[in-house]
């Protein structure tokens, strides 16, 4: 049942969905934690079952961001989005599985790997894999609160055939989100249908004084779509993916974004990894998370804990990120990437002078098999984000909707809007879905 219908009818299927989640989890690994006793309450979202990506803090619920090093961490506070949702009566049914700290596009960098709902030998995409998978497979009314840094909402939405919305950076509070990269992280919403996203988005968005990067600006009211631009460079993919996307559009023009295509992934990763490498410094076995017996001196202890409990991918990213901001390299990498980001934002802004929304495929491929993923080099892995990094780097609102299928695997279409055009993006998505 659609969220809007569920709410208007005052339904309560929380117990049922929890039972389903428990069963599904045995095969699909969508949840790191299920709250058997979850209940809802009164409010605008009364008794709406909501799953939450593991990196978003829910008070007293283990929130380990898909990592081992944070195992056992039970936050003593709710993320702002969670307290706003609770106020409106949602039932938080559990924490969904993900790539550790958001590091990945296939949700394989974790101990609890979610499987694609349509083909269990394939990935759900990442890093919000558990959210994407469960949203697709559940027979009950449900939305998932997920998170995107470089495309972690759009990608699993595309691979699992559901709608995934990432708002303008700063529109939804990051307070309580376990950081990947502070200038790139955004909390968003996944649901089966686009029109199920807005009622939840309207509750979680808006200025939060606890998040100093939270925007005080209002969303734009204008939702009219006059001109549609398709990003030329993104059409360089499998014919079938291209056709699926273009078949959804009536009138459009091709627009070229050369900077995004050439330097987007690079600028994104340098910024993301630099910020991540400092964000992950706090995991050292002292105040929360995994720890070891206290022996040796503190430096040895920190190294022992971090080396034991961080995954290889985390270590790789920490090393890269530390390098990019070390004295001597900062200007060439970290600062340079920040300047390139500025140029990329300007490139988008120029395009938005002419077009209301920009379109591209969400991902350059359909959901890959796990066996294929393991053969990818780190660089090939990072290049998978080529479609999604652009809007994420520029902090633009973007939505992935299902555009069709290749065989049985879904193909995602991404709608990108200008800063604060969140409502326009959602409106358009509803139309073409």
């Amino acid at each position: 049942m659609n969220v809007n219908e569920y709410l208007s009818k005052g339904k309560n299927e929380v117990k049922e969905i929890i039972k389903e989640a428990r069963e599904i989890n045995k095969k699909y690994n969508y949840f790191n934690y299920i709250d058997e006793d979850a209940t809802g309450g009164k409010g605008k979202l009364s008794n709406l079952p909501v799953s939450v990506k593991d990196c978003i803090c829910v008070k007293d619920m283990e929130s380990r961001a898909g990592s081992l090093i944070l195992k056992g961490y039970k936050p003593v506070f709710d993320a702002t989005v969670i307290s706003r949702l609770r106020k409106e009566g949602v039932a938080i049914i559990g924490k969904t599985s993900q790539d550790e700290f958001g590091f990945g596009s296939f949700s394989t960098n974790t101990d609890n790997i979610p499987k694609n709902p349509i083909d269990v030998e394939r990935s759900t995409g990442g890093s919000s894999g558990g959210s994407g998978g469960f949203t697709a497979i559940t027979k009950y009314t449900h939305v998932s609160i997920a998170e995107s840094t470089g495309g972690s909402i759009a990608c699993p939405a595309g691979f699992c055939g559901v709608a995934g919305f990432t708002p303008t950076y700063g529109v939804v509070s990051r307070y309580g989100l376990i950081d990947y990269a502070n200038s790139l992280d955004k909390i968003g919403v996944m649901a089966k249908k686009v029109n199920e996203i807005k009622p939840v988005f309207d509750i979680i968005r808006g200025y939060d004084e606890k998040d100093s990067t939270s925007l005080k600006l209002d969303l734009n009211k204008d939702e009219k779509i006059k001109k549609i631009g398709v990003i030329k460079e993104t059409l360089n993919v499998d014919e079938k993916i291209k056709d699926a996307v273009l078949s959804k559009l009536k009138d459009y023009e091709e627009v070229s974004l050369p900077l995004v295509e050439k330097y987007g992934v690079t600028a994104y990763y340098i910024i993301a990894l630099s910020e991540a490498s400092t964000n992950l410094a706090k995991y050292s076995g002292l105040r929360y998370g995994e720890s070891l017996d206290l022996k040796g001196n503190y430096n040895e202890y920190f190294s022992d804990v971090r080396s034991k409990f961080f995954s290889t991918e985390s270590k790789r990213r920490i090393i890269l990120g530390t390098f990019a901001r070390m004295a001597g390299y900062r200007d060439a990498y970290y600062l340079k990437a920040m300047k390139v980001r500025n140029l990329i934002i300007q490139e988008y802004k120029k395009a938005f002078k002419k077009y209301d929304v920009l379109i591209s495929p969400t991902m350059p491929i359909i959901a890959p098999k796990f066996s294929e993923i393991s053969k990818l080099t780190p660089l090939e892995n990072y290049m998978m984000d080529i479609m999604t990094v652009g809007p994420n780097l520029a902090g633009l609102p973007h939505l992935s909707v299902n555009a069709g299928f290749i065989g049985k695997m879904p193909v995602g279409l991404m709608v990108i809007g200008n800063h604060l055009d969140d409502n326009k993006v959602l409106k358009f998505g509803e139309k073409i879905e």
């Binding site: 961001a65 506070f77 307070y175 989100l177 950081d179 490498s277 002292l286 900062r330």
Partner: protein, 445 residues
Amino acid sequence: MKIGLEIHVELNSKSKIFCSCATQGSNVPNTRTCEICLGMPGSKPSFNREVLHKALKVALALNCKINKESFFSRKNYFYPDMSRNYQITQYELPLAENGKFEGINIRRIHMEEDPGALIHFGSITLIDYNRSGMPLIEIVTEPDFKTPKEARTFLNKLITLLEYLNVYVREEETTLKADANISLEGGERVEIKNVTGLREIERCLEYEAKRQEIELATFKETRGWDAEKGVTYSLRKKESENDYGYLTECDLPMLELSDTLLNEIKKEIPELPNQKIKNFIDKYKLNKDDAEVIASDLKLAELFEQISHKIDAKIAANYLRRDLLGQLEYNKLQVKDLKIGEHGVKDIGVMLNLYQKNKINNNILKTLTIRLIKEGKIGEIKEQVSDDSQLKKWCKEAIENNKSVVEDYKKGNENSLNFLVGYVMKLSNKSANPQKVREILKEMI
């Protein structure tokens, strides 16, 4: 000899720099903490406006150039007292630069947070994060000091200035710390880290200067100060040139300071110590020494200004310096412990008036001052006894009971008269007018 200081001052805002935990209160460990100053995953900092205002006041009072645009950075290093293993500080663009105070050039002033406190306990270390997130400003001077004494004098004046600005609480000297740099002619610079309090700062510099005189420093070094043993010691070399890998603090936006704000802050700066001293000399006609002593404490200076409405400035200054400060020291108290309200000020005026008119003597003054210190008011003033008949009675008694002393005086011993005066004072329970007593005794003898 060249000495430079990096001074850490704890500001007296009500809440911490990046969270709303109280800066004062419970000393029970980890009871003034929250998810932010504990660095819990998911928490984010939020910058205290009052800390900016206080830091700006200091920067303006030290004649610095304010950077209209500045931001916070993450200084990354691993240590158990660091709740996030990075400190939020200002690196590339500090709040203020290029100031001058008391002839010393100020290189820069920036804001940052304090880490937690460690207690070493055998093979483990205990951590209390109450202090984590306390607001600090760091004032870095150029190496302009030529002696350790100069450094201490500067710090005293700096503390007075900070008190005048109401940004700092002088509390057992635990809230001012410094890293001190010292080099001798031809030698390398040695840094002594983390010295607490003015006395220790001067001591460690004196020790290090002597140590370098014996053996000139041939390489740049960082040392610690052992206050108990009174020596500096080599700190185990930190791994490599600790690359802090500075990053902008991406959870906190840039600061853009307007002229309007700076003008508002300027208006909040009160008359500063140097100006007060000048005023005391020019307007109130005090001598330099009295002026400096009274201006060295804001509360004392304000008390002086209030009393001088009712009483001659010189008498007020004398009273404060000699009697009030004297009694405070004797009772092991400080000016900040005084609780003198409007009433108390009035009382002092009345008391000094009577003293000026010779209606009360020094002893009574002393008694009343003690009462003032202990109770914050003077209360009933019993004037000294100047009634001739009563005085003559006591003098007669003194003479009759001390015949030998009287003889001594007649022989020319002046001290004997003092003894007799003292005897009368005792008889009268210190309430006799000593000058009159002396005259009467002389007459009688």
